[in-house]
Amino acid sequence: MHIPDGYLSPSTCAVAYAAAVPFWYVALKRVQRLLQSRLVPVLAVVSAFCFVIMMFNLPIPGGTTAHAVGIGVAVVVLGPSAAILAISIALMIQALFFGDGGVTTYGANCLNMAIVGPLVAYVCYRLIAARAPIEAPRRVVGAAIAGYVGINAAALLAALEFGIQPLLFHDAGGAPLYAPYPLSVAVPAMMLAHLTMAGAAEAIITGGVVAYLQRANPDLLRSTAITSDVSPDLPAARGWYGVRQLWIGVGALMVLSPLGLIAAGIAWGEWGAEDFQDPAVRAQIAHASSNVAPPAHVPQGLAHLSTIWHAPMPNYVPAFMQSANLGYILSAVVGTGLIVLVLSGLSWLLGRRPPSGAGQA
């Protein structure tokens, strides 16, 4: 999972750094506001803990062992902002001092393991644990699933980063300059290991630590838990104000969504049935596929499946829109709105049921 130097091109590394910087900035500001003069000792000690957890080699069912990353533990106990910073700092010490992960790929490693993994794990944990009491077994299950899904999200992103390298970067003779395997190889290879061993290790450590803390130190689980006695300090309890920076970020990303139009050519693997008939697009596909020519006719399965569903906004531009840029932004708004609607519905459904044992406290 720790990507060494040489696997990703400098431009991929630069994009990963650029993508990570806003998260680091927002996380640092939020944690600084919360901890003030305690920022340095708390982050340093918790980062050291994250580092040591990454060295744990856990016995997993089946008689083998695997390393955990500690994504789930960090995010369940610290919350997303502090987890982003603590894991990033632990990764920095690992890369620079212990040679675990590269220097140029540090941004990508942070994006995978310190940002996307923890954020996905956090959403999972909050959705599954909902308003369950601190000592509820549901929180253990939620934490274990969060750890499993979080590390797999990180692994998938790493696999995508590997997989796009041979498509974009090769020398004049066609030899890949960085990670040599296309998406069709990189994604299954990475996911096979993470959906089984590494995922199991992460689920065990996250679920196990939460179960231990429920017995030994339940207070440590309260900062990320919304129970019936909601703390007014928690972001979720403060409505729009608490998450306004996230909304501003989402808004900025929507406005920037037409940036994709700048990219030349067609996205690899996203070809439509009509693209196989167009000689110009066929040449693009061949060029992007290491000069392997696409099939002469539209593949049968693709031709059949493409008739089943017609997107309401094909190519992200509704039929009534004249401007592609505005169409992209509108699609981003509609897509984000739908996701928010689905998540709000799920959260309402999960939160509607009174937690077992409520009212006993």
């Binding site: 720790h2 130097d5 040489g6 696997y7 400098p10 003069s37 305690r38 920022l39 340095v40 000792p41 982050l43 340093a44 000690v45 918790v46 980062s47 050291a48 803990f49 580092f51 040591v52 957890i53 060295m55 744990f56 080699n57 856990l58 016995p59 997993i60 008689g63 062992t65 533990v73 106990v77 700092i89 920095m92 010490i93 890369a95 620079l96 001092f97 040679g99 675990d100 590269g102 140029t104 041979p166 003779g173 066609g174 030899a175 890949p176 300059l177 960085y178 040599p180 395997y181 065990i204 679920g207 196990g208 630590v209 179960a211 231990y212 803390l213 030994a216 130190n217 440590l220 290491s290």
Partner: protein, 282 residues
């Protein structure tokens, strides 16, 4: 499969507790050896840490950027030469970088020799798998870049004490608060490694037989839980200790680095090597 690292991984012998304790001990060994080497009298040890940090990062970037195997090989041999004049022997480089990278990246790169499509060089005798020129080149690029970059990174760590390395980051506009956090984190990593080792040692001394897998998992997660609780307690103690010494939330660092002629020569050398590498491939 263990990931590549400067730290020797466990030999997968003994029981779970032995392996975990071994891993923790190797990390401490690496830190002690790095501290010892950084005090020796060698070329890189004599250089200003800011020059080393900038130079090594620059050379790693060039190693990742170049598109010529010959230039990559030259950069690798330059790293070996720098190690030799800095009293870092080839056996140490082999033990901490080359063998580990070969075992990890080599294993990942090997299938590329057959899987990358291109001009067939020859077929394997029994399996008849085609070995392609493009496949061999792509495997060589991956392995060469990994070995070269990791060798430079190890040289930086072995010839520069950690506090100097952190202080050198100030020259590259890394915020002071982050530098202080990195320094404290590094310190407490070893505190926690010692605590974890002691906890495992205490448990091991009370064992009379092998633990069942379920109990081993419970032991590992409980150890992690105890460490986490201690981490929070310790952060409060560290904060109080800092406040009692006058800390008010604004860390300050002393800056005593001075550039000498040798440092300027190293800056010029790094720039010249980077320029030559990029010019050669152009």
């Amino acid at each position: 499969m263990a990931e590549q690292s400067f730290v020797r991984h466990g030999r997968h012998r003994g029981n779970f507790l032995d392996r975990l304790a071994d891993g923790l001990a190797h990390a401490v060994d690496h830190a002690l050896e790095a501290d010892d080497l950084s005090r020796r009298d060698g070329l890189l040890q004599r250089l200003d840490p800011r020059v080393k940090l900038g130079g090594v990062f620059g050379l790693i970037l060039v190693a990742v950027f170049v598109k010529s195997l010959a230039v990559l090989a030259a950069l690798f041999w330059l790293a070996v030469g720098l190690a030799a004049v800095s009293r870092v022997g080839p056996w140490r480089l082999a033990r901490q970088v080359w063998i580990g990278v070969l075992a990890f990246t080599g294993l990942i790169a090997l299938p590329a020799v057959f899987l990358v499509p291109g001009d067939v060089l020859f077929n394997l005798p029994v399996l008849s798998w085609p070995v392609t020129l493009q496949g061999v080149r792509s495997a060589a690029f991956l392995l060469g870049r990994s070995e070269t970059a990791a060798t430079y990174a190890l040289l930086l760590v072995l010839t520069t004490s950690w506090p100097h390395l952190l202080k050198a980051m100030r020259a590259f506009r890394v915020p002071t608060v982050l530098i202080v956090i990195f320094g404290l984190t590094h310190r407490y990593v070893f505190v926690f490694l010692r605590v974890a080792t002691q906890m495992l040692e205490a448990r091991r001394s009370r064992l009379v037989g092998p633990l069942a897998p379920r109990d081993r998992r419970r032991l590992a997660t409980a150890t992690a839980g105890v460490l986490l609780t201690r981490a929070f307690d310790m952060s409060t103690e560290v904060h109080l200790a800092m406040v009692s010494r006058g800390y008010r939330g604004e860390p300050r660092l002393l800056d005593e680095f001075r550039m000498r002629p040798l440092d300027w020569a190293a800056v010029a050398g790094s720039i010249a090597v980077a320029a030559m590498a990029l010019w050669w491939q152009a």
